[in-house]
Amino acid sequence: MAEVAKTVQAPAPSSGGAAMVWRVVSGLIVPTLAVVTALVLGGVVIWLTSGGFGAPGEATQKTLAAYQGLLDGAFFNERSFSETIVATTPYILAGLSVAFAFKGGLFNIGAEGQYFLGAVSAAWVGYALPLPPVLHLLVALAAGFIGGGLWGAIPGYLKARTGAHEVIVTIMLNYIAFLLVDWLVNSPLRAPRSSAPKTPDILDTAMLPRFFPAPDRLHSGILVALFAVVIIWWFLNKTTLGFEIRTVGANRDAARYAGMNVTRIFVMAMGIAGGLAGLAGGVEVLGLQHNLPAFFSAGYGFDSIAIALLARTNPLGIVPAAFLFGALRNGADLMELRSGASKQIISVVQAMMLLFVAAPAIIRALYRLRAPKDAVKEAPLSRGWGG
């Protein structure tokens, strides 16, 4: 009797708009506080390194100047905002790559290598394959995606076939990618008559259009990145294949039991993840560099792991996280110039952000927040490294 009475009679399919909003807001509290706390502690570090105990007044001024410089450099100086967006663009795509792989239960530490492969593929299509406008750009972008995607699919395939852990394989493939691209740019793809090793400039038809006249460098790659975010979110949540990837990510055994082809999903998830990182490299070449120099390394691939973590692997969360990293990266130079504080401080701030996001208990203890019921969900990248 009690049982029947308590059975929910055809419950409402959605839990209502207000609940949704609250879920989103409450999910943002810890990351936001993590960022604020890290910035405050970063200020303390600057204050201390500027001789805070010897000359407290001066150190305080320096600290304020440092953050003023960071803000000006990231947003308020001439073209600063454009440059921040320029830096945000590859961060979004590479961060999305790591987050996407994670949804399939895979750790993509290889975004940096995939980024290189995507960059070199896009650059080659850009200069060597003359095509009509628009089409040329699309083919070049696709080449970036495919280059990175194939590179990413390798660890997926090896994991599926041999059980090789994707963390190890992607790390090793990073080194292979650096050297492979270095060789390509130094010899077969090297631009003739150029003093520095780099590929020839891409053709105008393959360039991502810029919004403003030079020297402003804001290019339409940001639209590609935002489009990718929407597509990935939609793919994961609305398609059967996305459902399968999420299922495999959440519980491999249950996925197998349910008749899903887990090995196929591994290859596909890593392939798409690699494609996104490759697209990051492609967009950087087609929108910004217009050729691929040796020593192209920008560290976007490695920062992307941090961005995915900060966004808690949520595709939509990648955008603000990437923007934050882009702004910090872009503002760091002026910060150093104005205050003399080393721009490495930014790395300290970023590391603290990650620390606080990965260990939300610290933030909750600091601000006396109540723990959510499903605390497991909070540190998505901290589980499963042994698998």
Binding site: V8, P13, F243, T247, Y257, K373
Partner: protein
């Protein structure tokens, strides 16, 4: 001065929990519950899953603090802030899921977290000696030097009990201790418990198996929906009466199995040999046939090849010899999806690892297999409207208790998750159903419901292979019973006439002469 136990620990003469109230957001888990236990007594705590048994015991063990009410130990109010406080007060708890380190030995597990009597140097020899004393006194046969991973489940439980006794527990809470044991092991456990009671321990025995409660306890307290229904002397109670108090309505303990004439052979297993995890064969030439409209029970102590058989039949473990025919079609080497398409459904043994996904919602779990087929999807896009409609139907017709369809299933009870899995599998209208431990850890109401559904499937002509360690379940449902021992089927007997003693002997490896 308190009397001492043989271990030298003071006895817990009386424990009273008075007017305990514990609220969780949206739930009143304990509503003014009273409970008491005295030295030299087994007090059973009976109730369905979600009735508030675990919540009550967690407050006793210092894992939660009561919102209202008092815990009084030997006449003194106590406030436990952590399990360490409870352990220091002489309270021990045997959890349903053992808290042992598999790679360490028994002695190491017992010594874990305790101070060595030799300072920085280990005193494992002394620990082992003390373990042997305890083992002897309470009939807890176990080798202190054996690594825990080599022990059977029943032995691991003994290690847990020794651990608690070693730490000086005068009051022991046993949370569903018999769920993982064979009938013989249950008897052994009861001998141990009786000795402990004689020595002056106080025992709290949590269970929903009525005959065990009747067999071991002196008093029984029944909880329902967070409230205590009452405390009764066990001697005055019957199974039917207890079941009624626990569920709040009349419960069918004996099923009415309608006569069904078995039809054609649906699932034919021929000479199946399958390797286990450690490379050795886990199944040796197993042959078994299940006909339409028939429930074949597969009994056996856990670890005798049942798990491997279920996995091989699901297509998740490769077969080295023999073959499997599903509706006449050879599926020996086909992947899970093909078997499902051929009409097979399965309820996996480990609900949360193989059968469902904790973080997914009720709807998502309901579409795990058929998400790529209509009505759940159209041309590789999920159709959320159809999913919500079908899910709502299934939730209603299988009486799954859930706040919404979007609720992650980790918040549901075991019984409701199992009903969800059953709903998903049966909605596929299978011709063959492989049900492994379908009611393990499930409350009596859900258990009864699942049994009724299985019998209903039998009447509809489904061929059902019921793999279970619960002999009562096997006997109540099966037309024929096959018994597995060390990877072989040692006998097949007629279900309705099989006795527990015969089956118990076969489960211990004594071959049935009449088979």
């Amino acid at each position: 001065m308190l009397e001492l136990l043989p271990s030298g620990q003071p006895r817990i003469e009386s424990l009273k929990m008075m007017g305990i109230v514990k609220r969780f957001p949206g739930v009143l888990a304990n509503d003014h519950v009273n409970f008491e236990v005295n030295a030299g007594e087994v007090h059973a705590l009976l109730g369905e899953n979600g009735a508030g048994k675990s919540t009550l015991m967690r407050q006793l063990y210092g894992l939660y603090r009561p919102d209202e009410g008092e815990i009084i130990l030997n006449g003194q109010p106590v406030h436990f802030r952590s399990p360490a406080d409870a352990i220091n007060a002489g309270i021990g708890m045997i959890h349903q899921h053992f808290m042992l380190v598999p790679t360490l030995t028994v002695a190491e597990n017992v010594a874990l977290g305790l101070k060595s009597s030799r300072g920085v140097q280990l005193d494992l020899d002394r620990v082992a000696q003390r373990i042997e004393e305890l083992a002897k006194r309470y009939g807890l046969r176990v080798d202190p030097q054996a690594p825990v991973w080599t022990l059977a489940v029943g032995e691991q439980q003994r290690v847990e009990i020794i651990k608690a006794l070693y730490r000086g527990a005068a009051l022991l809470v046993l949370d569903e201790p018999t769920a993982v044991l064979t009938p013989q092991e249950v008897d052994d456990l009861f001998v141990t418990l009786k000795q402990m009671v004689t020595d002056g321990h106080a025992l709290i025995f949590i269970s929903h198996k009525l005959h065990e409660v009747l067999a071991i306890s002196q008093r029984v307290t029944v909880l329902r929906d967070g409230r205590s229904v009452g405390t009764y002397p066990t001697g005055a109670m019957t199974k039917t009466e207890l079941a009624r108090l626990m569920v709040g309505r009349e419960v069918v303990l004996q099923y009415n199995r309608k006569p069904v004439t078995p039809g054609e052979a649906r699932l034919v297993i021929e000479d199946l040999t399958v390797a286990g995890d450690k490379g050795m064969d886990a199944l040796h030439s197993v042959s078994l046939t299940v006909h339409a409209g028939e429930i074949v029970g597969l009994a056996g102590v856990s670890g005798n090849g049942q798990r491997e058989l279920a996995q091989a039949l699901a297509g998740l473990r490769s077969v080295s010899q023999g073959r499997v025919l599903l509706n006449g079609q050879d599926v020996t080497h086909t992947p899970p999806a093909a078997r499902m398409a051929a009409g097979q459904a399965s309820i996996p043994e480990e609900r949360m690892r193989e059968g469902a996904i904790r973080d997914f919602s009720v709807s998502e779990n309901l579409i795990l297999q058929d998400h790529a087929r209509p009505p759940y999807s159209r041309r590789s896009f999920l159709d959320f409207k159809a999913i919500a409609e079908r899910s709502a139907q299934l939730v209603e017709s299988f009486r799954i208790k859930t706040p919404t369809l979007d609720t992650p299933i980790k918040t549901l009870s075991g019984g409701n998750i199992q009903k969800l899995i059953l709903a998903r599998e049966l909605s596929r209208k299978p011709t063959v159903l492989i049900a492994a431990q379908p009611t393990r850890g499930v409350d009596i109401g859900a258990c009864e419901y699942i049994h009724q559904r299985l019998l209903e499937q039998r009447e509809l002509g489904t061929a059902i292979l019921l793999i279970s360690e619960d002999l009562d379940e096997i006997r109540a449902l099966s037309d024929r019973i096959a018994v597995m021992y060390e990877g072989r089927i040692v006998g097949v007997v007629d279900g309705p006439t099989a006795t527990a003693e015969d089956l118990g002997l076969m489960m211990a490896g004594v071959t049935h002469s009449g088979a």
